[in-house]
């Protein structure tokens, strides 16, 4: 089985080097201030600032949705999402964005939302009152 061991050894070596290389693909969730500082592509997580305005006017540009998030440090940041407004966006609590800082806005290409609506068993639905 010697040759197989050699090949397995090579594979392990390759795997280890791949894992080292893959470190470049990883990032931590950046805070807004870090995103501003680095300017490179990062992931940020924050609460959707529901008290701030959300603008989506498809007649103007269907790929432009702006809103604000607030991160754990309490900083507020304007976000420009290069996509149509995701469905049920205003219901989401936490959003995770991938993108980079450009001038005063965080330009995001990907968004993941955590919707409390998924925890739907907290509600009891009643029949509509006929009348």
């Amino acid at each position: 089985m010697k040759k197989v061991y050699i090949i397995a050894g090579i594979m392990i070596a390759v795997a280890v080097s791949l894992f080292v290389m893959a470190q470049d693909d990883l990032s931590t969730y950046a805070t807004i201030s870090q995103a501003v500082k680095t300017g490179s592509r990062v992931k940020i997580a924050g609460q959707l600032a529901k008290d701030m305005e959300m603008i989506y006017d498809p007649v103007e540009d269907p790929n432009l949705f702006t809103f604000y998030i607030r991160d754990d440090e309490g900083a507020t940041q304007k976000v420009v999402l290069l996509q149509p407004k995701p469905q049920d966006f205003e219901l989401s609590e936490q959003v995770v964005l991938t993108g980079r800082m450009q001038e005063d806005a965080f330009v995001a290409t990907d968004v993941l939302m955590k919707c409390p609506s998924k925890y739907k068993d907290e509600e009891i639905y009643l029949k509509e009152q006929q009348g």
Binding site: M1, K2, K3, V4, I7, A8, M11, A15, L18, F19, A22, D25, L26, S27, T28, Y29, R41, V42, K43, A45, Y56, P58, V59, E60, D61, P62, N63, L64, L82, Q83, P84, K85, Q87, D88, Q94, V96, T98, Q102, E103, V107, T109, D110, L112, K114, K118, Y119, K120, D121, E123, I124, Y125, L126, K127, E128
Partner: protein
């Protein structure tokens, strides 16, 4: 003291049966597992072993019946909408169509666990019939798995107080057992309940077929695992290799099909815009499959050469453990924000961890305690043998699985690190798709090449010196043909990087060499060609991935460019606005939104695609019909379903990314209606009016003054509107109003409708989109069109059939009674006695009209319903009949008809609502992917039949 409330309308017996069945299923699985354990341990004593086996069989049979009972009970309460049950309330509602009842059943965690157990029961039954000497050890393992999954349904608390640990989640619990709410103070609460219903995204037939297939795939991996454990347990390291093979092939085919169905669902019915997104949930169903396929390969080596038995043990064990690990990842909530479709937490995390630990420890113990006895030939395979390269292939597959698992498990790693070091900041993969593609590309290259040339090698090669010419010839032909196909592919699509060209080559190499293998080596005998077919499928799948993934083309390219964006970011902006009836040139197509229609909760949009040649002739035309689904209250859009035009070599995929906000959400609609600046006018027919409107010009401090001309063309009493569904008793008025703007030359006619139904007004405004103008009718219009009762001067007439009287200037003839009442304002009720008087009116200038006022006795009270001939101004009420002489008393009045007027409001700054934001993507060669992937599963199935036949 809390008083016990006597609830009314609860159905408690199915719950009691269900609860009992849950405990019986759990206990019987324990019994069966223990009995089979002793049947295996005491296998030297045949008689004792057989009596243990009998207990094991009976135990498993009872377990199976109990599982069927729970499922049956759950279906029963769901079908009958017994909302007092928590599971029913959470997954069903009154509106749910019967065909989605299965989907609703396995939408929840408990239902999907039951589905998993169900398949184990079926597979266990088949094994009891067919496994012969392997039955006892294999069933002991399977029954033990059933104990653990069964415990997920127990729903019992261990310990007391708030610290109590809940074991499992019981699907048969009542709603009032799992939550506290003020409604439970009402003894009749059951009659008030409705269910949450099935998530609209899941209301399609994929949800009916994908989960059972995938769960059969999950469940079937337990069989190779159990055989492997059995082989180690009774130290028969060779005996299990033959009977396990059909099961492993079956599992490979079904699990693969289940995963593919998930991809097909994502591509066809959801708006993911692709079939694979390297989402953790997808990855973790793929990993066990990859490991299983590696196991099948080492299993084949072991069967023919005695090599790789240890590897086969490891792969089959790992495959099942990865299934359990995948269950843990998707159901524990640990994936958190990294996955779009992970379940939420249910308090089962520690049970799931226990599940993994138990089987890792069991497998590790059995393997290491017996590893010395596992046959492993001293002599190494030669590099010119088939088994050597097959083994390398299995290692490459394992390597792929390790890489995927490691990346996907990052959230678990973060959790563990944070546990020991609370200050640790979790890491995430910034862009998962390129990350996975980058590494898996090389796996694809290696596997493609290995599946090609190793087909031409022979097992246990001893005489390669006499064979190498043939080997080189076929491999050489393969290389040449693959190069030709790769070259042709680069003509069809854009393969920029050499890595992609290499992958394309290796995909085609796998295809052509395996076709050659079937022709030259198997002489076309497909019965034994399962592996070649699967490998052709793999190659074709790679080709399809490159074609469709690398060269998917966004047709809906966005005309608005934003400054400062990178090319990749600009490419993400792939939505365009499509206005009704205005064709838009997208790529090579001319795309037009031609209209939409609504059917119950589904709104379908019709998108017309045209392609013209240089002379302007239409050479290709088709219609796509993406739709959106509103939620059950019709207040919001719940789901958007794409539509795809399929050609053999490419797909055109279209989905609706956004609609006007007022079409998406009823609150937006109200807010918008309130925000409009309406001006009210009252005008008669043919009256004209001109008004001015100032419009601020965007981004400039200037205003535009436009003039509008209004003219009422007609007022109609039987109005029609696309959103208005007439009901009997409605009074519906429509005014046709011509609007002309100084901005545009053409005139537009608005036809707003106002409906009075009972006491409720329904307004259907009309929008003139080219003018951004909205017109609605006001309530006053009823008074303007219909004459008020108070203005009328009724006279009493007592008349018999055939009499003629004069009312004002009008001659009215009483033509008799009509028991068949047709007056629109009459709504029939039980016990009514109703009769109409048929009156024929003639004016002095010769106009005639027929009216039929109604006399009615309802609940012993006399009532009358008015009828009128508005055009001539005759009003009549039929108030009584004299039973003696049959004379009717009718009140009639004549009031010269007024010219009707319309009261309406116009808002001139109402933004258009006749558009959709559309995404259109072309996927070239996606059918190579589907065909290839299906061939792979088909090949596995053929091999399975072949192995079953040779086993017998």
């Amino acid at each position: 003291m809390i008083e016990e409330i006597q609830y009314i309308g609860e159905h408690l017996w199915p719950g009691r049966i269900g609860q009992a069945a849950v405990f019986i299923a759990f206990s019987a699985a324990i019994l069966s597992s223990i009995a089979y354990f002793f049947a295996t341990q005491k296998r030297e004593d045949v008689e004792l072993s057989h009596s243990w086996r009998k207990i094991g069989r009976v135990g498993f049979g009872i377990h199976g019946l109990a599982v069927f009972t729970i499922i049956g009970m759950l279906f029963y309460v769901m079908l009958n909408n017994y909302y007092e049950y928590q599971y029913v309330q959470a997954h069903v509602n009154d509106d749910l169509a019967f065909r989605y009842i299965f989907s609703a059943f396995w939408e929840g965690q408990e239902g999907s666990f039951l589905l998993w157990m169900f398949w184990h029961v079926i597979l266990g039954g088949l094994l009891m019939l067919s496994a012969k000497k392997w039955e006892s050890p294999v069933m002991a393992i399977i029954a033990s798995v059933e104990i653990i999954i069964g415990s997920m349904l127990l729903g019992i608390y261990i310990g007391f107080g708030p610290e109590a640990f809940r074991l499992g989640s019981n699907p048969a619990l009542l709603l009032r057992d799992v939550m506290e709410a003020p409604i439970f103070a009402n003894a009749e609460y059951v009659s008030l309940l409705d269910g949450t219903g099935l998530n609209p995204l899941l209301q399609n037939w994929w949800m009916t077929i994908h989960p059972p297939t995938l769960f059969l795939g999950f469940a079937s991996t337990v069989v190779p695992f159990a055989f492997a454990m059995a082989g180690l347990w009774i130290r028969d390291h060779r005996g299990w290799l033959a009977p396990v093979l059909p099961w492993a092939l079956f599992s490979g085919a079904i699990l693969g099909t289940g995963i593919l169905m998930g991809g097909a669902w994502a591509y066809e019915a959801l708006s993911f815009g692709g079939y694979w997104a390297w989402d953790p949930v997808e990855n973790m169903s793929l990993v066990p499959w990859i490991v299983l396929i590696a196991g099948i390969h080492t299993n084949l080596i072991a069967r023919t050469t005695d090599q790789s038995i240890r590897a086969t043990y490891i792969f089959y064990a790992l495959s099942f453990i990865m299934i359990v690990y995948s269950t843990f990842l998707t159901r524990s909530g640990v994936l958190g924000e990294t996955s779009v479709h992970a379940f939420t937490e249910m308090g089962l995390e520690w049970q799931l961890v226990t599940f993994i630990v138990v089987y890792v420890l069991l497998a590790a113990y059995l393997f290491f305690s017996r590893v010395k006895g596992i046959p492993a030939p001293e002599k190494e395979e030669s590099t010119s043998s088939k088994e050597f390269w097959m083994f390398i292939g299995s290692l490459v597959l394992l390597f792929s699985a390790v890489l995927i698992t490691a990346s996907t498990s990052l959230p678990v790693y973060n959790k563990i690190r944070t546990f020991f070091d609370p200050g640790f900041v979790g890491r995430v993969i910034t862009d998962p798709v390129p990350h996975f593609n980058k590494y898996q590309l090389w796996i694809g290259v290696f596997i493609g090449l290995l599946t090609g040339f190793s087909q031409f090698l022979r097992f246990r090669e001893k005489n390669f010196s006499s064979y190498w010419k043939k080997f080189l010839l076929h491999t050489g032909i393969g290389v040449l043909l693959a190069m030709v196909f790769t070259y042709l592919s680069t003509l069809a699509i854009n393969l920029s990087a050499w890595q992609y060209q290499l992958l394309m080559f290796s995909g085609w190499f796998a295809v052509v060499t395996n076709v050659d293998h079937i022709i030259s080596f198997l002489r076309g005998n497909l019965k034994v060609g399962g592996s070649a077919i699967s490998h052709i499928g793999f190659g074709l799948m790679i080709v399809g991935v490159l074609f469709s993934g690398l060269n998917q083309k966004v047709i809906s390219r966005n005309p608005f460019l934003m400054e400062g964006l990178t090319a990749n970011e600009e490419a993400k902006r792939n939505t365009v606005l499509l206005i009704k009836d205005s064709p838009m040139i997208m790529d090579e197509y001319e795309v037009t939104l031609t209209g939409d229609s609504i059917d119950y909760l589904t709104r379908t949009y019709y998108i017309d695609y045209k392609r013209r040649d240089e002379t302007g002739q239409v050479v290709e035309q088709f219609q796509l019909e993406p739709n959106i689904l509103y939620d059950k209250e019709f207040t919001k859009v719940a789901a958007s379903n794409p539509s795809t035009k399929q050609y053999w070599n490419r797909d055109v995929f279209t989905h609706i990314a956004a609609l006007p906000p007022e079409e998406m959400d009823i609150t937006e609609k109200k807010a918008k209606e309130d925000s409009l600046d309406y001006k009210t006018y009252i005008m008669g027919i043919e009256e004209k009016l001109t008004f001015l409107d100032t419009v601020p010009v965007k981004d400039r401090d200037t205003f535009l003054v436009r003039s509008f001309d209004l003219e009422v063309l007609d007022i109609q009493r039987n109005a029609q509107h696309k959103d208005y569904i007439p009901e009997t008793g409605d009074i519906a008025i429509s005014a046709w109003i011509k609007v002309t703007s100084s901005e545009k030359d053409t005139s537009f006619i608005a036809k707003p409708v106002l409906v009075l139904r009972g006491q409720v007004l329904y307004s259907f405004p009309d929008q003139i989109n080219p003018l951004n103008t909205r017109v609605k009718l006001n309530e006053e219009v009823f008074d303007l069109v219909y004459t008020a009762e108070a203005e009328l001067d009724y006279q009493e007439y007592v008349i018999s059939q055939g009499d003629e009287v004069t009312v004002g200037d009008i001659k009215v003839k009483f033509q008799g009674f009509n028991k068949d009442v047709t007056l629109p304002s009459y709504e029939k009720q039980e016990g009514d006695i109703a009769v109409a008087a048929m009156l024929n009116a003639t004016t002095t200038d010769g106009k005639t009209a027929d009216i039929e006022p109604v006399f009615l006795i309802r609940n012993s009270k006399p009532l009358n319903l008015k009828d009128e001939a508005t055009e001539i101004g005759l009003h009549a009420r039929f108030v009584s009949i004299n039973p003696k002489d049959g004379k009717a008393t009718i009140f009639m009045a004549h009031q010269a008809p007024r010219a009707p007027k319309a009261s309406f409001s116009v808002a001139t700054r109402s933004f258009r609502t006749d558009w959709v934001a559309l995404q259109a993507i072309e996927f070239p060669g996606i059918n190579y992917f589907w065909l290839g992937a299906s061939l792979m599963m088909f090949g596995l199935t053929i091999s399975m039949y072949h192995r079953i036949r040779t086993l017998a």
